[in-house]
Subunit: 176 residues, 2 copies
């Protein structure tokens, strides 16, 4: 098994919808922690994490799609004065990977998150897709849709959906 190519794990990550909550949503952050603790463990050289953040069009005026970030320096060298929340989100995960010592890449796309994630799976062919999920009940799901259910059906690779812990659910469970 030594010398085999690293297991490439694509993670769909998004920003928190809670006002004042910094950067990563509770479910994205939980999915990352779970992946590090339960899958990567001490075997940091065996894995590469790929972070994909999909921004819904017209939510932010953002024109830095399709750039690739692989180290904290990549962010510092950026010309942009206004680092958007999306960039901060990716920076958060890239920084955490560098602290832990696991290789990573991060990028952004625009579009419908569930469609874009499945499209990117087809393009980059990861070994595994990890998505966070709010763990909503059927009634709440009707209104917000769930990216994780769509990806489990349509993504062309194995998918793990990590539900948010019950004790981390905010007052309005649709928030994240």
């Amino acid at each position: 098994m030594e010398g085999a190519e690293a297991t490439r794990i694509l993670m769909g990550v998004n920003e928190s919808t809670i006002k004042g909550y910094p950067h990563a949503s509770i479910s994205s952050s939980g999915a990352f922690d779970w992946t590090i603790q339960k899958i990567v463990r001490s075997n940091t050289s065996g894995f590469k994490l790929l972070f994909l953040h999909v921004q819904v069009p017209d939510e932010d005026g953002f024109d830095d799609m399709d750039s690739l970030y692989a180290s904290p320096e990549d962010f510092k060298n950026m010309k942009h004065r206004n680092r958007t929340r999306g960039l901060h989100l990716l920076e958060y995960f890239v920084n955490r990977c560098h602290e832990i010592g696991v290789a990573c890449e991060a990028w952004m796309k625009k579009g419908d998150p569930k469609e874009v994630i499945c499209h990117e799976v087809k393009r980059v062919q990861p070994d595994l897709l990890v998505v966070g999920s709010r763990g909503l009940g059927p009634f709440q799901r009707v209104f917000v849709g769930t990216v994780s259910e769509f990806c489990q059906k349509h993504a062309e690779c194995p998918v793990i959906s990590i539900k948010r812990r019950a004790d981390e659910t905010p007052q309005d469970p649709v928030d994240d």
Copy 2:
């Protein structure tokens, strides 16, 4: 991360339905290989695999439920003269784990596989459930049901469903 408790992965495994095909179904065997290659990798001490085989009642006259097997010796010491196919199935996976050097346990239960798997998840609280899937289309699924879809919805832990590779699909895709 060193010294942390091993990640416990529960695998639902079943026998092949193909006449003359030895022991493990194509999808169970594929899910095992995937888990070793992509998740466990060289970090054999970081993981413990738990194999659960659910036998549908009245399919076999089998009375050795609830026994626990953790090494090849456990099988040799058995009093039973007729090793059933179910036992051979578990023996296959336990032997493979011992060759690889990863800790394991295996046991059998009777019942409806999807219900029993979710019940056992609640009881043993694994970190992850891995199930193989035939990757059937919607038309075929109506007739055979899918354990993996049910578990993804109902199991109280993260679930990965590993689809059978297209080039391993037997003549009748409902076979496995």
